[in-house]
Amino acid sequence: MFPTPIHQRPIINQYIYKVFLPISLIIWLIPIFGILMTSIRGLGDITAGNMWGTPSEFLLFSNLYDVFTNTPMIKYTLNSFKVTIPTMLGAVALSCMTGFALARYKFKTNLIIFFIFIAGNFVPFQILMIPVRDLTFKIGLYNTITGLVLFHVAFQTGFCTLFMRNFIKALPQELIEAARMDGASEFKIFWKIILPLTRPAIAALCVLIFTFIWNDYFWATVLIQGDHAMPITAGLKSLNGQWITAYHLLSTGSIVAAIPPVIMFFLMQKHFIAGLTLGATKG
């Protein structure tokens, strides 16, 4: 193990480590504490410049009430779910198939297609912006959740294919050979043998896609204009313009926007990390 495990070190080092660990954590989380503290405060504290002292009032619930009743925050949150969940399902479904095809069949253009998916996944969004916006206009889906979902599904398929293909490729080939010997059709092999085995990969992709799409801001501004379809990131930005120095409300809104991906992360941490490291978590 590297570095040397702390319990093999002199006792003094162990104490130093145990003191430094929480201190470093607190420093690291200062920005988060900042918004948590501020979401409790009232306007009085903000204008008085009381940012780090004890809040003079505990107003978290009143701030939450303000945010939810005076702004379209509920609508934004719902929209975010309406964008995120279908995208997650769509991209995972498509990439199970593409990943299977690229991992399990030999044909001339296999690697080229695989690399196209990878390359596409890394391109800057700006090179896609104008044509995608145009296309969405033409098919009548500009300013709709469906229009946003369609693009997200297509784009995320790139990353998901990369992940799925590598995952399926690492499964034992004998399983498929044996099934073929028994006369199983290719679709049956996919459905009955491969899909059940990809469950951990599907879980990893679901958490990752959920976080990516929930936090997307660029496409939400390019493809959506009105409150009716706006997801929470873009909504928060537009509220920021109205609130100006109402940092207590801004903080409360930020927390609302951050909660779903944070919960998702804590519940499925293992899968999340497996996804981010492209599956390199064994050992």
């Binding site: 988060i32 196209i116 890394f122 969004f125 926007a257």
Partner: protein, 306 residues
């Protein structure tokens, strides 16, 4: 292909060719979707960059004029220069992430929770991170205001100053990016072969020597991934700029990604052709890294097959 009429032979044809045709059936939906929304638009954008177009009236072919204009555009150079700053300073996320990973790679009480708490800036939207840091930087109400007073910079606004705005945004951007690199390196440290480390220790390697000669080479996969995602993150920096300064003051914190958006879709006018030219430049820079990534994957594939 010849089709036989007799039933049993038709089944044979499908059975014979099933393995050839199936991959295309599995690929079709994803590939078509990806082609329409990702691959084709790249070429369409490059095409548009040779036109003058406001998005509504018919477009006019202008050849290389958009690019010629770029060469004379002061704001383009500022953005390009800022992109370079992003690339350089964003890279700090890699060593800092590695350092933190080494610091946290211990087994003590509560370490799992502590690690998760270190990860989680990465999970939060960049919009939220941007808003938090914008407020931190506020000259009068902000969190760092008391510190600025201490060093005699009372009322100094980091984001409104043309020399500091970009660094202020990059600093905010580093927060989630460090968390990302930390995740990659902690996984990497977990996968290190303990025997090699022990062997190194037997040979008397210690401290930095052990780290440099034995640990770091084994982390090269994590390092590679960390560099790739950091470079891409630096070139994609849009959200933070949009939230924190909108390119201001006077375009001094602009980056290509945001400048393109501003030219093509904002109140400054709908210059689709010019915007596409900027996007094409950004794409070309990015392509360099993408090809490098793919080359490495290709090499790994070849090794796997041999």
């Amino acid at each position: 292909m010849e089709l036989n009429n007799s039933k049993p032979k038709r089944i044979t044809w499908w059975q014979k060719n099933q393995i050839k045709i199936s991959p295309w059936i599995f690929l079709a939906p994803g590939l078509i979707f990806f082609f329409i929304y990702v691959i084709a638009p790249i070429f369409v954008s490059i095409g548009i960059s040779f036109y003058q177009w406001d998005g509504l009236s018919p477009s006019i072919y202008v050849g290389l004029q958009n690019y010629i204009e770029l060469l004379d555009d002061e704001y383009f150079y500022i953005s390009l220069w800022n992109n370079l700053k992003w690339l350089i300073f964003f890279m700090l996320a890699v060593p800092i992430g590695l350092g933190l990973a080494i610091f946290l790679n211990q087994i003590v009480f509560g370490i799992r929770l502590i690690k998760s708490l270190f990860f989680f800036p990465f999970v939060i939207s960049q919009v939220v991170i941007g808003l938090i840091f914008t407020w931190f930087y506020q000259p009068n109400y902000g969190v760092i205001a008391p510190f600025l007073d201490l060093i005699g910079l009372e009322g100094f606004s980091i984001l409104a100053n043309e020399n500091t705005a970009t660094y202020g945004i990059i600093f905010a951007g580093l927060y989630p990016q460090i968390a990302y690199c930390l995740i990659l390196y902690l996984t990497g440290l977990n996968n290190i072969n303990p025997e090699q480390i022990e062997a190194g220790r037997m040979d008397g390697a210690k401290g930095f020597n052990l780290f440099w000669n034995i640990v770091l080479p084994q982390l090269r996969h994590a390092t590679f991934l960390a560099i790739v995602v950091t470079v891409i993150g630096a070139l994609r920096s849009f959200d933070m700029v949009a939230i924190m300064t909108q390119g201001g003051p006077y375009g001094y914190s602009n980056v290509l990604a945001y400048y393109m958006f501003e030219q093509a879709l904002s109140e400054y006018g709908y210059r689709m052709g010019y915007g596409s030219a900027i996007a094409t430049v950004l794409f070309t820079i990015m392509m360099f890294y993408i090809l490098f990534f793919i080359y490495r994957m290709y090499r790994n594939e070849r090794e796997d097959n041999n």
